[in-house]
Symmetry: C2
Subunit: 309 residues, 2 copies
């Protein structure tokens, strides 16, 4: 049973209540609820744990900034403007709380987000739960369920570089390339621009390109086809590692926080410069994702980052 099935069985299936002001319930990158003045409120929450979401020897300020930015990326995927954040901090020692506060504050300031609340508890490990909320015009939040057969599939940002950097870090490198997995930049402005351009379907690539494309395929009931040679990051990786490994990193490496989105071909001109076209949404193989490299199928047995294998 993987993380998603366990959450479904242990939590969601047992929670039947839906509030009348909820527009998008549990299950997308974020939930969406009625807000004031013609706006909807978009909420997402993520937990990051030392040793699991960042290496124990990574600087804690950067790890905390990474956690905040990763949570903000879910708002980007919905096309929301980020507004508020709540931080729940588990720390081993007071000085570690100080480092985490410094990094979290840096990320919040960069995104102009208010720290609206949170708590802190001493624990035997360092961890951070980041809950974020943002605003989007009523009914306009981008959703993973809105891809249609015939749509183009687009990618804003790169895939595989965070996974490559993490492997480099674990191999002992400490240069700017190896630190890249900590330097998440949430594509907030990009998400807003996509939504304003008319994009209805978007997801952020946190679990890995194939895994997140799979979420879109299943939620939308379409098949997805991805041309690996058009995925940003793959060529860069191909210069550094053998092709099979570059393919695995680009397709299955998580935590890059690129935006994968689907849009009608009519939007091509308007979306020029907002990403790369990497494939198509098809009526064939609904719920499945197929990747090709120069026209030939790519096998990839790692379906992304899962907490329960």
């Amino acid at each position: 049973m993987d993380e998603f099935e366990l959450i479904e069985r242990a939590f969601r299936a047992r929670a039947p209540v839906t509030h009348p002001w909820t527009r998008v319930p549990n299950g997308d990158d974020a939930s969406v609820h009625a807000g004031p003045d013609g706006m909807d409120i978009v909420v997402s929450t993520d937990t990051s744990v030392a040793g699991r979401h960042w290496p124990e020897d990574a600087p804690l300020d950067r790890a905390a900034a990474r956690a905040v930015n990763a949570a903000l990326s879910d708002l980007a995927a919905m096309g929301a403007e980020a507004a508020w954040c709540w931080l729940n901090v588990m720390v081993r020692e007071a000085r570690e709380a100080d480092a985490m506060g410094e990094g979290a504050a840096r990320a919040l300031a960069a995104a102009r987000v208010e720290l609206a609340g949170g708590d802190m508890v001493r624990a035997p490990l360092n961890a951070l739960t980041v809950t974020v909320a943002g605003l989007v015009p009523e009914g306009r939040a981008m959703r993973r369920s809105e891809a249609r057969a015939g749509d183009d599939l687009w990618l804003a940002g790169e895939c595989g570089l965070a996974a490559w950097a993490l492997e480099a870090w674990q191999a002992g490198r400490r240069d700017v390339e190896a630190r890249r997995f900590l330097d998440v930049r949430p594509l907030l402005a990009e998400g807003v621009r996509l939504r304003e351009a008319g994009v209805r379907c978007c997801i952020d690539v946190s679990d890995g390109l194939l895994a997140d494309a799979g979420h879109v395929a299943r939620a939308s009931g379409v098949g997805l086809e991805i041309r690996l040679e058009d995925v940003s990051g793959f060529a860069w990786l191909g210069e550094r590692v053998e092709e099979a490994r570059a393919a695995r990193l680009a397709l299955a490496g998580g935590e890059d926080y690129a935006l994968l989105f689907a849009a009608s071909p009519e939007l091509r001109e308007r979306l020029a410069g907002m990403g790369s076209r990497v494939g198509a949404c098809v009526a064939d193989h609904p719920g499945l994702v197929r990747a090709t490299l120069r026209g030939r199928p790519v096998e990839c047995d790692v379906a992304g980052f899962r907490h329960f294998g």
Copy 2:
């Protein structure tokens, strides 16, 4: 440095952004933000950790229900109707996630609250971050800063019983009285009634009566006087333990989730049956709390539950 000072220095002092739609910022039981249709949205978040907020040998379903109910208690203190919950779960094993899901779902169903999102991560310890949101008419959220000299001080619910029960549990008892620290009932309906009756100042007693009264005294700039003999729970404790220990439990034992509120004497008639009058708000000793037992000062050196001593 205690938890509050550390949060202030490491996080709040570094986060200057305030969103124009925020009505009550970081620092009360919850933050409050503009909502739709003349309502405000009230948000609070709490982390509970095994071995810290519940004993390692407590049943995990009840521990999870306790965590959800404790978070909902913050909405009760604001006078809000509970609407949504987000759960971030750290678990050691899948079957523990199942138990936590069962307990959390029970608490959410009892309060008719929607599970709007969350995540799950495998970790070396069990923990639960509960973020809750509720609704309150615009500008009507009860706040800890609204006590005025001359107000009566009231208590709805009992103090000291959770701490007593936890001590009994730790001494090996497993009966209904000893399990009481797990059986948090958030006083949501009571909070709404208080707000509707005109109460403007309320806090939930999570850190301990003296500590939480101290939050009110400092935020409101008044002195508080508490008559211990009028505190519900103290008499019950006095039948079981010596008086000094009963006083310590009632004044400093946390996690009872009673509601402490202040209200003008003009509201006495309307508030009859909604709590016990336990003291007064005074212009003397602003920011300080003084407790008496039958007219004599009570010394209590335990200022409540703090994570960083």
